[in-house]
């Protein structure tokens, strides 16, 4: 598995915000069909890293390889053209519009081109329903408003949309953080099903150790802008994971620190 060419590889990635170094020489390889958990404390640089991968920010230094080819993302459009689909925390959905209208927003199927192109609503409804079902959610009515869907269903909608429009790399930034227990489970199931498709790589950012252990195949730990550890699931023990997630500090140290307060 690991000797395959990674879909995305970053080498020596640096990002400076003026005098502040947010990322300092990060290396990372993402394989198709794997869930790669990106873990680290608040401010470690996770969001900065994925913003670079999705074309929102430009790196100060370093290279991104897509299928082994060095690539420059000048805008989010470049990144999504290269097959990188990002599901942001706010999901980029409009609540008052229907599921279908959201699914196809900006990429409507139309007869005739230009803004006055007429939407093929029947076909769009059918595709939306089928694509959502593929990753496990049977929406009864594609004309229902997104505002009436649960948080987990919305997450699934955003994921289904990214995949349908050609994402080979799916970036999920804390997809479970705002959800209740049951809906967190729903999202984890969705991640599993997407992984099961086999050809899609998933980058999962989470602060939840249990979630990462449930679905991740590989881990990368960031701390203060640098990679402090990486490894496949079977190479790491949960104690290591917990320690690395906290930025390398031992839990005992944390307890000591707490005691000092």
């Amino acid at each position: 598995m690991t000797d395959k060419e990674p879909v995305i590889r970053v080498e020596n990635l640096c990002k400076k915000f003026g005098p502040f170094t947010a990322l300092n020489g990060v290396n990372l390889a993402i394989q198709a069909g794997e869930v790669h958990a990106l873990l680290g404390d608040n401010g470690a640089g996770k969001s900065t890293l994925i913003k670079i991968l999705s074309g929102v920010l430009q790196p100060t230094d370093g290279t991104i390889f897509v299928d082994g080819v060095p690539t420059n993302f000048r805008s989010p459009r470049d990144a999504s053209a290269a097959g990188i689909g990002t599901v942001y925390q706010d999901l980029a959905l409009s609540q008052l519009s229907s599921v279908t209208r959201n699914f196809f927003l900006g990429r409507e199927i139309t007869i005739g081109s230009g803004p006055f192109g007429v939407m093929k609503i029947k076909e769009m409804d059918r595709i939306t329903h089928d694509e959502m079902q593929k990753i496990g959610i049977d929406i009864s009515d594609p004309t229902q408003s997104v505002g009436t869907m649960s948080g987990g269903q919305r997450q699934t909608l955003a994921i289904a949309r990214a995949i349908y429009f050609g994402a080979r790399v799916l970036i999920l930034d804390e997809p479970t953080s705002a959800l209740g227990q049951k809906q967190q489970m729903e999202v984890l199931k969705t991640i599993r099903r997407v992984r099961g498709l086999g050809n899609i790589a998933i980058i999962l950012i989470t602060h939840n150790e249990i979630h990462s252990q449930l679905v991740a195949d590989r881990y990368t730990f960031l701390s203060l802008g640098e990679v402090i550890g990486t490894g496949a699931k079977d190479e790491l023990e949960s104690r290591d994971i917990r320690r690395l997630m906290a930025g390398g500090a031992d839990i005992a140290d944390l307890a000591e620190e707490l005691a000092k307060v």
């Binding site: 980029a92 008052l96 519009s97 959201n102 927003l105 900006g106 939407m119 009864s140 505002g147 009436t148």
Partner: protein
Amino acid sequence: MSEASGVATSAAQRTESDRLVKHGRIRALLHRPEIGAFAGMAFILIFLAIVAGNVVYNPLGIKNNHGIISQLGIISIGACLLMIAGEFDLSIGSMIGFSGMCMALMLKWGLPFGLGEATPMAAFFITLALTLTIGWLIGTIVVRSGLSSFIVTLGFLFVLRGSTEVGFRTFNQGSTQISGLPDFKQTDWFAYLFGGDAFKWVFDLLFSFGWNVNRSGDQWVPGLDAKVGWWIIIALAAYFVLSRTKLGNWIYATGDNKEAARANGVPVNQVKIGLFMFTAFCATIFAASQVFDTNTADAAKGNLKELEAIAAAVVGGAILTGGFGTVVGVIFGAVIFGLVQNSVFYISWIDGSYYRVFLGSVLLVAAFTNENIRKRITGGI
């Protein structure tokens, strides 16, 4: 034990689609957001039939009602689309006065820069080019500055009204009105498009059935005002664009969640600028139908019309935060307000000023209803 497992399996077998009850056609119709406006309109129609049916529903009453309704209808469609996209235009009324002035000045005093006589067509298209440019300017200022469109268009409300008065005084020998223009609609097909009659065949038919007859036995009313035709065309076009086209999807998305729309590649700024130009277009059509119908113009034309247009849009389900509203609803809204505004003057025992009381009350009821619908959809946020 067996009971507990029974509950568990039935819960596991239920799917998401079981949770949404499928309703029949009629239930679905009753749940449409326009149903309140429709009920209001039906009530008004019946009420007027009872208290003043003979004057409101005679041929002349029908013509006059439709004139007022369609005028309001034209601008409220523009206001509604813009509100769905999350913006506001308070300059519609002043734009009506301004474009009426431009057309009438050219028709009376000739084209600018001494380029000779102005035909109705030239006067209309030069004015339209000017108003579309102003619409574009308003839209550009709103999207570039990030200022609320409420403030920007309030500015243009004053600027345009003032410019209209100054324009009249400067180019019309100090007078702020023009009357007695030649009756272009008799001689010019283009002027007839705006000032002439529409649906003449219906009124011819009514005459042949012996209803549309005046005291001397001739045909009484020739037809509806041409602006009724414009209202229908603009409404059909707006309905089609909003519900069927890509642009319609963009308009809703722009008003609902601008950042989401932008992230999905929707040209949010162009959508907004285009809609500011569309309200300017609607105001120009309003003014043209007034100028070519009455052969007059004055600096106060269109005063307060922007607020009536916004009120009709609210009755049509539009909410101030954007993302919601329908053309069908705004048509009902225009019918309600137009009908009442015109009819109260026929009914001697009702003080005409009750129109404003009525307008305000209906506006509040509609706003409450819309808010409830929005809460139902977004789960109460």
